[in-house]
Symmetry: C2
Subunit: 626 residues, 2 copies
Amino acid sequence: MPPWTTPPLAAVRLSDLYLCPRQDANHAVTIPACLQKCRETGRLEAFGLKLRKGQQPEPVVWWDSDVAKVAEGMAHDLALYPDAARERELEDLVALIISAQRPDGYLNTYFTSIEPGKRWTCLAHDHELYNAGHLMEAAVAHHAATGRTRFLEAMCRCADHIASMFGTGPGQIRGCPGHPEIELALVKLARASGQDRHLALAKRFVDERGREPNFFDAEAKKCGRPHPGLVNMQAHRPVRQQTEAVGHAVRAMYFYSAMADLAAETDDTALLDACHRLWDELTRHKLYVTGGIGSSRDNEGFTAPYDLPNETAYSETCAAIGLVFWAQRLLAITPHRRYADLIEIALYNAILSGVSLDGVKFFYDNPLASNGKHARQDWFGCSCCPTNVGRLLSALPQYIANASADGLWVHQYISSQVTADVNGTPVALNQQTDYPRSSKIRITVNPAVPVRFTLRLRIPEWTETAPARERTHAICINDVPLVSPIGSNGYAEITRDWCRNDTLTLTLPLALRHIHARPEVSDDAGRAALMRGPIVYCVEEADNGKSLASVILPDLATWREVPGDGIFQHFTLLETDAARAPVPCDPDAPLYSSAPQPLAPKKLRAIPYALWDNRGVGEMRVWMLV
Amino acid sequence: MPPWTTPPLAAVRLSDLYLCPRQDANHAVTIPACLQKCRETGRLEAFGLKLRKGQQPEPVVWWDSDVAKVAEGMAHDLALYPDAARERELEDLVALIISAQRPDGYLNTYFTSIEPGKRWTCLAHDHELYNAGHLMEAAVAHHAATGRTRFLEAMCRCADHIASMFGTGPGQIRGCPGHPEIELALVKLARASGQDRHLALAKRFVDERGREPNFFDAEAKKCGRPHPGLVNMQAHRPVRQQTEAVGHAVRAMYFYSAMADLAAETDDTALLDACHRLWDELTRHKLYVTGGIGSSRDNEGFTAPYDLPNETAYSETCAAIGLVFWAQRLLAITPHRRYADLIEIALYNAILSGVSLDGVKFFYDNPLASNGKHARQDWFGCSCCPTNVGRLLSALPQYIANASADGLWVHQYISSQVTADVNGTPVALNQQTDYPRSSKIRITVNPAVPVRFTLRLRIPEWTETAPARERTHAICINDVPLVSPIGSNGYAEITRDWCRNDTLTLTLPLALRHIHARPEVSDDAGRAALMRGPIVYCVEEADNGKSLASVILPDLATWREVPGDGIFQHFTLLETDAARAPVPCDPDAPLYSSAPQPLAPKKLRAIPYALWDNRGVGEMRVWMLV
């Protein structure tokens, strides 16, 4: 079991001005809209097992996973927004899903209705195990939210059926899924059911990946369909020997998450070492400043180190969500702010950009520059991103704080009330802040009875990259300044006898910073990004007109922080009069000339990157000339 | 007929240090290699009409065009390099091609062997008219080179068969080709055969394109295959009303060339006006500094104005060749240096980059930046570019000079001997120069008898964009300086009684220039390109290491012009010690930081863009930080 315990969702209440409106939109709009899309497109009907080849839209092998992720989101959401009608809707959906399960435990609409003879014949492409994994995650969430067990039991039966099919015994398939997912789901299932056999199946799938002779090569020959590439599936080397984040980014994140889970469950240091190597490699070479990953549309994934184009950035919403899943697991096993820092950056930038403020439109890919054509859509043929946003935003509370053996860890500064158990004593942590808009975070610590423990507060690494005069964070307890050491893990540690209403104030420096990429990142050369705290800013055509690639950023000191209004309420915007830009060209002037266009001062307004394309399509840019 | 006459290829001899080695490689290597590839892949065998579906490689509807372009190149080449063995080889090829013609005149290997029932059923996709057009061009070239008529006659019969199939009469198809090509070929056929009926067919195809109701929409319904888009085929509007270069770039160029041809043949001012509008629009919005066009791989063509990405630039070799075809036609109808300037820039940059110095490897797409993965290949599944390079390089002499009613025009400064007819008097023009390496061009004018006429010399527009002190060109006749006016068409005009061995010296300023793009071109913002005369330079990893996107160009004055050696013999290279670049980063340093990497001086060597990737793959960049 992991060394930490996360408070159940129902033990957390968010009141954050930044995130609560997002969670409200997720509850009120996104989750119902995704359910409706599943209904309209036939994904729900599919569980009636009357799918026919050729029906429109054409059924696809991954349909079940969309329904599963909606169900998971609905379950998380129910814990946050108890509602009898929603609960009935969820129970109806669960009943529908379970009704499709076959007597042997198998549960998959496509291969029950459309190609019943092809069960388990093409793991590289057919997503059967991927779907089953998402259904298991949904079942665990349903159980956690409602205490009801029928879905969990159904998915345990499904897991047992799968366990009977896969292995090295006679007649069994020695294989693993083309799209990882079931591995992490089986760990969740084991934890929820208390059944270690599900863990053993997860381990079998993890250990199989990349082993020689390679299962996928043999399968491709047998079924006559070329597999999508061993690298694409992270099956190019035994997992414990992998050193570079490669292939399809979402597959990689789900798989690395399972590696971390199994490392924690089985004390497998070789798996954990591989995770740490992969993390280092990814974050040093393949990470957008927004926390997005997977730069190429061609493979929906990773390419060469430093290949981070902005306008064609794929940076799939699901990949950033997967990165958060992985980071959260590594944070629990080897606590270090690097993981919580990246969770924060990915959440506030690459993930929140994936959904419009009103919760109805989604980016699949999240580029860092647009020449005016990229816009959110309300659904996709492969609609993994909307449903992933739905289940992540409804599960946000679990990222805030954890209890460990000797106390509490605060990872994310989000206005909230969290109740956690510290060695048998319930402790309520009440955060009040409008961070990341302002720099002050006030945390009231309320143990049921006075108790001694260590409270650890993440001091983000970016606080050390701010200009020197602002580099210090400050902590007060009951208004008395406190000098608290920052551990090598990047957390300030405060060990004391905590009493009712002890109030702790943390101030983090939020000075605006220019971010520069390494010179190897060709698209960012000669350019800088603007960050304030964890928020990446961008400039948008709606505020600044066109030709934004040619605008030159001014000195940091010339920017004014201004409160947003309208849809930007609760957000800090940035304005300056001191940017420079080429004087607009005569439309008839030639395309090329031997003299540069003269520069003139330009007013510029920057908004948080995650908020772009909420006022219609237009140009957008994160990296600006300096 | 066009207002100008072009000396036949055999009347021109090249001796140019820059281009002759290219033409030699084309003769010795490229054309034989393309013929061999046609043999190996089954494209020649196809004319035996024994193609079978499923054979490997799978026959494709455009195969005939590759063979046709090889034959055309062989014919041009024969005029330059008379050789009995080569002539026999060509005649054998011609005999093979003609053998596939059906009794009714139809000539197409795919639809004769593989889908005989589908003749003319899907013009949007099936390339039947495109192939026929290339075969007609080959036949005209064969006739011009050898005087033999069997191929020309066969293609006239083929044209007559096509004329019988297409039109508004009973049972005829009221359509036009999805991929333009036959239109310009029919004009050539009409000129070579003297038969105006081929012109009428060309005009029918041109006039049909974009008419309502749109043929392609009706055809798509009938044959059940969606067409590739009306815009893609320039069929979105009647051609005389078109205002923007759109769609597939090669289709556009071939079609605009035919529009210009017909405008000249029929004095159709509406067609000519459309050509001028399209030219202006294209050159103002959609032209790479290399003369490449068609920025997107998705449609192999045009996108929005100013959308000119460098690393993903498609800039297909064939599209730049098509641009040269179109420019040459407009130059003949409405003489202006703008056309000859662009022919020069496209030839020396976007086209010559399409083939390796040794003539064996080809770019299909010619990006202006590479992160080290783009490399020439020896053939392609759709191998239009190698065969197009073959026929262009063998036809280069026809771009040098023309005769008009009142004299001679010199468009391109290439060491050569051209014999042209000026009102009945043969005049030999002997150019001696190693322009564009050096700035002096010496032209000896040798009329058979003394004769008065106007000699016009192109003064490239870029001479007026050089730094002021170098902006002047200079002309001497028999070593006496001459002040000659530059006409509004950009040509210096010298009218006099020309005598034997009159020697004219033209000096063009070749000072290095920085080129800046309009601020709307996002990929070029904050960057400049280096040009010297018509030559675009680039920096390559082989000389300068990696991370070239971060290198900052120095002042122009710091560059030294150095003569190249080895494979770069005859080329001027550029060197400086004053560039700046970020100090190389510690490999373990983070990807992002709040301080820019310090800069250090850097030596830089630039080579002509067309010569990159002749020393192995690696980074390359045209546009550099300034």
